[in-house]
Amino acid sequence: MKVAAILIDTCRELIYRKTLIVYVGLVSLTHLLFVLALQTDVADGVIAGLTVFGLEGQGSGNSFSLGTGGPGAALDISAADFVRYVQLVVAFIFYSLGILLSVFATASLVPHMLQKGAIDLLLSKPMSRSGLFLSRYLGALAVASANLLYLVVGLAIILAWKTGIWNGGLVLSGLAMCLYFASLLGFLVLVGTVTRSTTVSIMIAALLFFVGFIIRFPHQNTDWPLLITGRVWRALAVGLVEGLYHILPRTYDMGRVASLLILQEGQVSWGPILNTALVGAGALAVATLYFRRTDF
């Protein structure tokens, strides 16, 4: 009941902020657009005809255009590929937006909880500090994940209805993004607990998001350290890049995992998934320990 109280309160607080409501509104609008604007005609697994907002589409070789061909022009694209590419584009726009808005919405949860007068009341109640802190984390994660899953499950169902193709990979990619956000949220609550500042929490989370994305390139390119002539500086730079690559949530790699799942191409690597989960859990554990030992 006590965990439920914190979960309910966290959900209420996020709904009150309206940031995630805006996200749900945008996702719902997108869903509605697909329901109302997209009409497909699938024959033998190929898109035989496609209409978007009344404009008919046609394909030729690798190109695709709307409204330039005559009625009934056949498209040279399989229905399965069409569904996957549409899902990939929509998912990546909304994954980025969803994670960004979720960071904005949840960044203040811990600093607000730690405000003088609020934390005293919470800590006076018969609940352990760890339970209180982790419930707050779970509440934020539940709301953000529900939003991401609303996007992917809705999109998968609508496109399956319109084309007859069900892509379970989209739903799995949504779960991968939830895991990524869970990891980022671990760092977000750690920064929030130590600094008690919403602004700093957002700045650090955004920094981690981008560093987690770009750090992949020097990690992958083994030649770049040769640009540094000093051996010590080269070793330090390599150490820094590898250190950051391994201790931060892997934005690029998790995006790649989501792409592979949606497109159902290639083998999904478990390394980035496990690493992202572990560093997020580590950040959360440090944040919980810090919270448990802090005087308020």
């Binding site: 006590k2 209420r12 003088k116 007068g117 005293d120 009341l121 800590l123 352990s128 005087d295």
Partner: protein, 295 residues
């Protein structure tokens, strides 16, 4: 920054069922002491127990109600939702929770505001809601930190009644307040803290005991007779300039001295309007105790 010892050498016990007041100037360490007892802050050393359990113990906290100073409720919750939220956190199940929430909102005269968000409340309403929150779990120990801060006189009177109701119910009350008159009215025992140390601990009666001084009010005596009396009666001195109708005097001395003074005053033709034994107020005691311990 130099480390500060917020508390040192505190040895305090609060009898069950009593109303205990903790007094001290700003920065004396009163709130720190309360926070340590509740596990909100940690001591660097020493031992403490609350309801027979260590500070911060979850089972002990289930039996404690707490109203912190400058408490802050989630802005997105209405008054009723605040009480339900803290009721859930206190482990109060339905339907008892809903019954208590409705009853307490009525008790603190907030029944018409239960569905209004708490960020719309005045300071006084916040204190009343805070008080309802603190007693929601029917605590054995009720810790109140400046409960009447910012509350108007009528609101203070109502909160005082609520505290007394809790005492009648059998709760032990630990009151931390700057309002000495309030502490004097409510508390059985008080402790005075200064600079992290406990400098006095006693019952209110002991602290504010009668002094060997009486205030005497007279009428119908000539100025010359009065001057004679002031030199003739030991320990008698005037308390006013004589411009008013009455004459107010202070007499220092035991009961025999008081009787001698009465005889002398009557013999001089004075009409005695009132004789009042003088008692130190808690404020007098507080100022004296805190002043005595000035470094």
């Amino acid at each position: 920054m130099r480390p500060v010892r917020a508390l040192q050498g505190i040895d305090l016990s609060v009898p069950r069922g009593s109303v205990f007041g903790l007094l001290g100037p700003n920065g004396a360490g009163k709130t720190t002491l309360v926070k340590i007892l509740l596990g909100i802050a940690f001591p660097s050393g020493g031992r403490a127990s609350v309801l027979g359990r260590p500070p911060g113990d979850v089972r002990a906290k289930a039996r404690i109600g707490y109203l912190p100073e400058n408490h802050r409720y989630p802005a997105h919750l209405t008054g009723a939702q605040v009480l339900h939220h803290f009721g859930r956190l206190s482990g109060i199940r339905e339907p008892a929770r809903s019954q208590r929430v409705a009853g307490l909102l009525q008790r603190v005269r907030m029944q018409d505001w239960g569905s209004t968000r708490s960020n719309k409340y005045s300071k006084g309403m916040m204190q009343r809601l805070g008080m309802a929150q603190a007693v929601l779990n029917e605590p054995e120990l009720l810790i109140l930190d400046e409960p009447t801060d910012g509350v108007d006189p009528i609101g203070r009177h109502e909160l005082r009644d609520l505290v007394l109701e809790q005492r009648e119910r059998g709760a032990t009350i630990f009151l931390n307040s700057h309002l000495l008159s309030e502490v004097e009215r409510l508390c059985d025992r008080v402790a005075i803290m200064k600079a992290g140390r406990l400098v006095r601990q006693s019952t209110i009666d002991d602290l504010t005991r009668r002094t060997e001084t009486h205030e005497i009010e007279l009428r119908g005596i000539e100025r010359t007779a009065l001057d004679r009396l002031l030199t003739a009666v030991d320990g008698l001195r005037s308390l006013e300039d004589g411009k008013g109708d009455g004459r107010r005097f202070e007499l220092s001395g035991d009961d025999a001295a008081l009787n001698r003074a009465i005889d002398a005053l009557r013999a001089a033709g004075a009409t005695i309007i009132a004789i009042k034994p003088r008692k130190d107020s808690l404020e007098d005691v507080f100022v004296k105790v805190v002043g005595e311990n000035e470094p």
